[in-house]
Amino acid sequence: MKLTRRNFLAWAGLGAVGAVACEGFGIRRGELDIQSSVRLPEDLVRGSDNWYASLCRTCPSCEGIVIRVMEGRAKKIQGNPYYPTNQGKTHARCEAGLQALYHPDRIPTPMRRSGPRGSGEFLPINWQPNGMDSLRSALQANGSSSVMITEPLRGHMALLADRFVAAIGGERLGFEAIDNNTFRTAVKNVFQQDSLPDFDLENSKFILSFGADFLSTWVSPTRFNRGFGEFRQGAGRGRGMFYQIDSRFSMTAANADKWLPVRPGWEGYLALSLAQVIVSENLQARGVDVDSLVGGAPGIQTLNNFRPEIVVPLAGLTPEMTGGDPVNFLKSLARSFAANRPSVAIGGGSAGAQSNGLFNLEAIYALNFLVGSVGKKGGVKFNPASPWADVPNASTAGSLEDWARVTDQIRSGKTKLLLLHGADPVHGLPDSLQLRDAIAQANDLFVVSFSPFLDDTSVMADLILPDRVYLEDWGDDISEPGPGYQVVGFQQPVVNPLFDLDPLSFPDVLLTMAQELGKESDLPWANFKAMLREGSDALFNLNRGSIEASSADEFWNNLLRRGGWWDELRNGPTSVRPADGLLRTIAEKASSPVFDGFGIGADSFYLVPFAHNTLLDGYNGHLPWLQAAPDPLSTVTWQTWVELNDTTAKSMGVKEGDILRLTSSKDSIRAVAYPTPAVPPDTVSVPFGQGRKHGSEYATDRSGSESSNVMDILETTLVKDTGSLAWAGTRVRVSKTGESISISKLEGDVRAVEIGLTPGEEIIKTIAPENA
């Protein structure tokens, strides 16, 4: 450009304006300063994050979560502070939802089987037309002889799935390897409630728990942990007292003030023994109609058969366990339980997983009537019905009897279509049921899996149509157990699937199929979001609860922002009248536990399996953070270990790291020995969860010596009257294999022993005694 006077003035003017503008925009003080080299990159936080409310799906209890999203990627999961059940807190499992989202082994596209069934050979196909056409053809041909197996469902997903199978004429079963059926039945029989109750630990003064590992894996551990913290050291209250009566020293038992090791299967007898002491010494809470509860004089007579003197030898209690006479101990425990009100009795886990599990749990829960804690503060709290008339607030799961029936149906050709979502029954059912073989050999069977990951069941599929994972999808849930009032959680997609993934939402696929099969009248929604939106509008029209809004749109937005809706004024029943003669009825049901297979004998051990703290029944086995999280007691990671008493181990010549073989009448597995002082000498314990044979390397890359599935050796003993698997009702023989491996655990090679507050030199000596 030629420099003229006119140009010069124009540029000078622009320059001046620019200078003023830049000054106005303001380069902030400090930005031009030289950075100090000791400042960490963490000091230079830039960018902004968004937090979205949603729901956690890494365990059956539903927690409210918030997810931190930056630049279109989910970065962190935390508890939703507003959500009533977990109140901002999470379990270790919740955090690992991110790894499910960004897992390297996600199935990217639909696939169809290209090799023999179960070989794991698949070819990618497109959703349209191949994937959807195959599904539609299968539903058209065999919908009426189909079985849909899902995770236990509640909320609109349960409604949708149930309506879908009803429309096509099939059947749906929820699958839980360690199901709550016996607990549910006990709650129904004792309290006449259809959904699981809450336990108000926060306000309780005395917790008496039988077999329930409620701080680690049982029912709703995050909620129970939240209450337990307050139970221990909450402001404005005294410290609560906690007894755990359990055949295994679980994480929950470790947190008890006193652990009482009971012979497996005798928990119900102990509970009735406590009831007998309370009744005979007239210790029940004021207002409790003992005569009606016990069933008059005949009831008292029946209850007298459970006097501590009779029960103590049956339950295997010794003076060493109770610090003196066990009879006096039981009496004193009953007195403390009755005196320190509000007190609460909880039963579950291995106590309900015996042939007499239902009797055990009923006897345990009936104790709550005697101490007046049913429906009351500090006791058992009941949950109200669903805010939507037709939407289930309680999940259902098939019993072992159901699974045996389904296996037979597959084998006989009666079931021709298997639809799988969120369930891995081949891994989670006893091997002796032979579900895998039945599926593999059924020529007329067509198997469709909607799993985003390959597992032991989806590897048997003919067609895989990968679902979105929960951080990418819509959903809702009714927390079970709720906190004693109506709570509905909402799940929203917080990120899109990564570009190389092509999943489709499972409920959307079902709705599309319903339309294509002409079932719109049963399922009239265009997509699952529309269905949920209708649910939101129904909540808005109730004109109550936690969300304030002047329009249905505003309500929907606020609902998603808050992560759910709840109404603290809609409580469950606060009083439940026990059936006349309840204790007598229960006592008359009493039976001793049955151990099929080897039976009771000196050469075998009680096998008390337990849900893994993070992997649960194996559902989370593909998530590396959860594989790598040390077990709270053994600190073992990545491997299957056998807990056995260290004195027993010594007498057998077994040391830590030795590979043991556990044999039942059904089969045998191998696992790593972990001797501890906290196992009864006649018992061994093995976690569920490992031993997957197909799918992600994180779950499968170990040999059978390191990772085995304890389900493979369980006897198929049923819990009487519920038909569920009595998973703690197996006896095994233990033998050495002569092999030994390095155990993968957090603790060091020398056992860490608590020695209290002692001067420093002694601490060092005690931690490493042989070096002292």
Partner: protein, 276 residues
């Protein structure tokens, strides 16, 4: 310094009577701080990365047996044994009571690790590895540590900085987004909770066994315990006697004089086992 920071002195309180050993803090820390996946061989080699870990101690023999859990993380000592031995000043004490690791100074002598009585320093023997897709989860606020670098708990300094930036420099109230008057711009406990500025372990802990705040914040949950602990130190310094039976407050290895900024509250034992 780029900006003049408001004085803080951060501190953590661990209530062992509340801790159930559930591992929520451990996984939360892994997720927040880009800690490599602890493989089976890491554990077998005793090289697993845990900025916070739950130690389990057995007590007694069957049937009178107990297990106690104690979460251990960097104690952020006032007299940190790790600091004076670092030849390159990669670990130093900042003005907020934190023991800080400067990754780009660290040359990997591991002297600090040897000198730490709490065994909370982790050395990167190898470059961390994540499958490509899992890298999407990595926290952009936290540096990935490479081979040859020492790392440890930072009290989630990135969260504290975000809190300081948002509340103290920009004056934004976390929940409402309202402007905070200049005179009131000091990050308090409520704002830390509402803005997700608490360390990840504290935020996750379902029993509230872990508490974190400014030691001088009257509204926070830690001040009373630090006041008591400091009083104990003063009493001992002057030759007085602290009645251990009537206090739950203690610090790990207090007798070696490291003055940690983490306080433990003893577990209450209604039925102590006979240790004789």
């Amino acid at each position: 310094m780029v900006t003049q920071r408001i004085d803080h002195k951060w501190g953590m309180v661990v209530d062992l009577d509340r801790c159930t050993g559930c591992q929520a803090c451990v996984v939360a820390c892994q997720a927040e701080n880009n800690i490599p996946i602890n493989t089976k061989s890491f554990y077998q080699q005793r090289r697993a990365y845990h900025w916070i870990r739950i130690e389990r101690y057995w007590e007694g023999e069957f049937p009178n047996v107990k297990a106690k859990f104690i979460p251990i993380m960097c104690q952020h000592c006032e007299n940190a044994p790790c600091e004076p031995v670092c030849p390159v000043f990669a670990t130093y004490h900042n003005d907020e009571g934190m023991n800080v690791q400067v990754y780009n100074r660290c040359i990997g002598t591991r002297y600090c690790s040897v000198n730490c009585p709490y065994t909370v320093r982790m050395f990167n023997f190898w470059d961390p590895k994540w499958p490509k897709s899992l890298r999407n989860q990595l926290n952009p606020d936290v540096t990935i540590r490479t081979r040859g670098i020492m790392e440890k708990c930072s009290f989630c300094v990135q969260r504290l900085r975000r809190g300081e930036v948002n509340v103290e420099r920009r004056g934004i109230e976390p929940l409402t987004g309202e402007r905070i008057p200049a005179a009131d711009r000091k990050l308090n406990y409520r704002q830390m909770k509402e803005g997700n500025y608490l360390p990840a372990c504290v935020q996750a802990c379902p029993t509230n066994a872990l508490q974190f705040a400014d030691q001088n914040d009257n509204t926070g949950p830690v001040k009373e315990y630090f006041d008591e602990a400091n009083e104990q130190i003063e009493t001992r310094h002057q030759g007085g006697h602290v009645d251990e039976a009537h206090t739950r407050v203690y610090r790990l290895f207090e007798e070696i004089g490291t003055k940690p900024n983490v306080i433990y509250l003893k577990k209450v034992e209604p039925f102590p086992l006979d240790k004789a």
